[in-house]
């Protein structure tokens, strides 16, 4: 069994990476289409990442800058291993939803430490905004996770998926707890860090924030993180509310649908200021999530 587990631990990150790249491509294509452009070729994300990794000279700001990137890569691949996908359960039984939510914060901390050691105030301001945004969108997300855990009576992801798939669409998370699904979606959208919550990579204000001093493979690692982030957040939403993947086809369709809606929304919004992000996230999605939680606690 351990061999297959070991194989799973290798395959899951690779799948996540490939699907993530496809998601990134879709995102850029959707953006192009909205701007009445054709958009990048099929393999553009691959080209970008390979070019960044193949850079001849790269700037590092000390050992912590390098270790932070290693911690980032390690963190995102670990969190993927705890996310059950059709056929591959990985380590889902060793850690539950709460563990996964925390594991997704490790890469954020790694990025923060790396950017901090770049000694560039643009990066520091970016990270301060990123952490503030995290505080903003995690409040509704917490109520969603609690509501889910109380509704299903368990926080282990395989059980949640089993429960949702037991009665077809009727027992999907979204069907049973629509309010939590909506609040969850808004929180997930904010997690992706795209407009209107793109305050920490604001190119016009703080020179792409955390990425200001990232060159070559450091920038490549951030591109990889972006693809992993799209996959993880999309897959988490699908697992929590859309009944996870009976098989790979339906799983990918749900995943691309969720990310498509979110990405489509992104390109029609400007960028909120930091305190506007906090005020919005702590009023509407939190209110909806609280209502959902109250409903769940009712019965």
């Amino acid at each position: 069994m351990t061999l297959s587990l070991l194989a799973e631990l290798i395959v899951m990150p690779l799948i996540a990476f490939v699907v993530g790249l496809a998601l990134v491509l879709m995102m850029r294509r959707v953006r192009a289409r909205i701007e009445r452009r054709i958009g990048p070729p099929l393999l553009q994300p691959v080209y970008d990442i390979v070019k960044l990794y193949a850079k001849r000279t790269q700037v590092s700001h000390g050992i912590m800058h390098d270790l932070a990137i290693v911690m980032l890569l390690g963190g995102i691949t670990t969190s993927v291993c705890f996310l059950p996908v059709p056929g591959l359960e990985g380590l889902a039984r060793q850690g539950d939803l709460l563990t996964l939510v925390y594991l997704m914060m490790v890469p954020m901390l790694g990025l923060a430490l790396g950017v901090g050691s770049c000694a560039n105030p643009n990066g520091s301001i970016g990270i301060s905004r990123a952490l503030t945004a995290m505080l903003a969108y995690d409040v509704p997300f917490v109520f969603v996770v609690i509501g889910l855990a109380v509704a299903y009576g368990t926080t282990s992801l395989p059980e949640i998926i089993a429960h949702q798939q037991s009665g077809g669409i009727a027992t999907w998370g979204a069907a049973e707890m629509p309010l939590l699904a909506i609040a969850g979606f808004i929180a997930m959208h904010a997690m992706l860090g795209k407009e209107p919550f793109e305050i920490y990579v604001a190119p016009a204000e703080i020179a792409t924030g955390p990425m200001a001093e990232m060159s070559g493979k450091y920038m490549g690692a951030l591109f990889v993180m972006q693809s992993f982030q799209l996959y993880t957040i999309g897959a988490l939403y699908v697992t929590m509310f859309l009944g996870g993947g009976e098989n790979w086809l339906t799983f990918l369709m749900k995943l691309f649908a969720v990310v498509f809606v979110s990405v489509a929304l992104t390109n029609v919004y400007g960028r909120y200021k930091t305190d506007k992000v906090i005020r919005f996230m702590w009023t509407w999605p939190t209110g909806i999530a609280l209502a959902g939680l109250a409903l769940v606690m009712m019965h």
Binding site: G39, A54, R56, P203, A207, E213
Partner: protein, 253 residues
């Protein structure tokens, strides 16, 4: 003394008999050549343009990148900081003060990096040919891959230069950036001629060349020794009278 000692016309550079791909010294083993080939292929298709409008030509870039001409089809997209950028577009005349920022940005960019000179001002002075404040030949101060003629080329021309650059990268010929490391002393000489012997930037090009094995015959010379002699301070202890002090209007405060 119209012919400045040591200044060489980059166009002649083009005609040097560079055979196919052996210019890159360390690509010796077959495996590295395959990797190199694939890397060049990806480099050609993913170009990040530095979002730095040095002159009047920058207004041509938005139409090139947005929906009408859409350079993202071939993988070109704008990037904000020099660290992430591959191409530095010098769009129009370059005043002395702008040249300092251009050189700083160029040195902060990571190799392989490419410079494209827009318009006649960068080729031979353009309509500011007799101005005391602008430089006449861009390629004397930073190695330039391509020039576009015209007094502000239209987006089609910009598109054409991007495609030409991609073909050169694909063929492994866009190696002007090596020239900056190999003949750093020549470029430094021109720069110091303009800005005076005190001139230097926080980036340590000679050490970088040593680190990445890009040293060439012309990397160090009289001018880099002048650089070391002036910058005898170690990077840790920059002295109070850092040469750029006047530049930042320190005396104003």
């Amino acid at each position: 003394m119209s012919e400045n000692a040591g200044s060489r016309n980059p166009l002649q550079l083009r005609d040097q008999p560079e055979t196919c791909r052996t210019a890159d010294a360390e690509e010796r083993s077959a495996w590295q050549r395959v990797i190199g080939r694939f890397a060049d292929n990806c480099r050609a298709r993913s170009l990040f343009v530095l979002h730095y409008c040095t002159g009047c030509g920058a207004i041509e870039l938005p139409p090139t990148i947005t929906s009408r001409f859409d350079m993202e089809r071939v993988g070109v997209s704008p990037m904000v900081t020099p660290r992430q950028a591959d191409i530095l577009l010098i769009t129009g005349y370059v005043a002395l003060k702008t040249l300092k920022r251009v050189i700083l940005s160029y040195e902060q960019m990571q190799a392989p990096k490419y410079v494209i000179g827009f318009g006649s001002c960068t080729i031979n002075g353009g309509m500011y040919w007799n101005s005391y404040a602008t430089i006449k030949q861009l390629d004397q101060y930073i190695p330039t891959d391509l020039f576009i003629a015209g007094c502000m080329p239209r987006p089609e021309a910009v598109q054409e230069v991007f495609l030409e650059l991609m073909r050169m990268i694909d063929a492994g010929k866009a190696n002007a950036w090596r020239d900056y490391y190999r003949n750093y002393d020549h470029y430094l000489a021109n720069q110091q001629a303009l800005f005076g012997p005190q001139w230097h930037t926080p980036t340590d090009i000679v050490a970088e060349a040593k680190h990445y094995g890009l040293m060439g015959p012309g990397t160090t010379g009289p001018h880099t020794r002048l650089l070391d002699q002036h910058a005898e301070w170690a990077l840790d202890r920059i002295p109070e009278d850092y040469p750029e002090r006047g530049e930042n209007e320190r005396s104003e405060r």
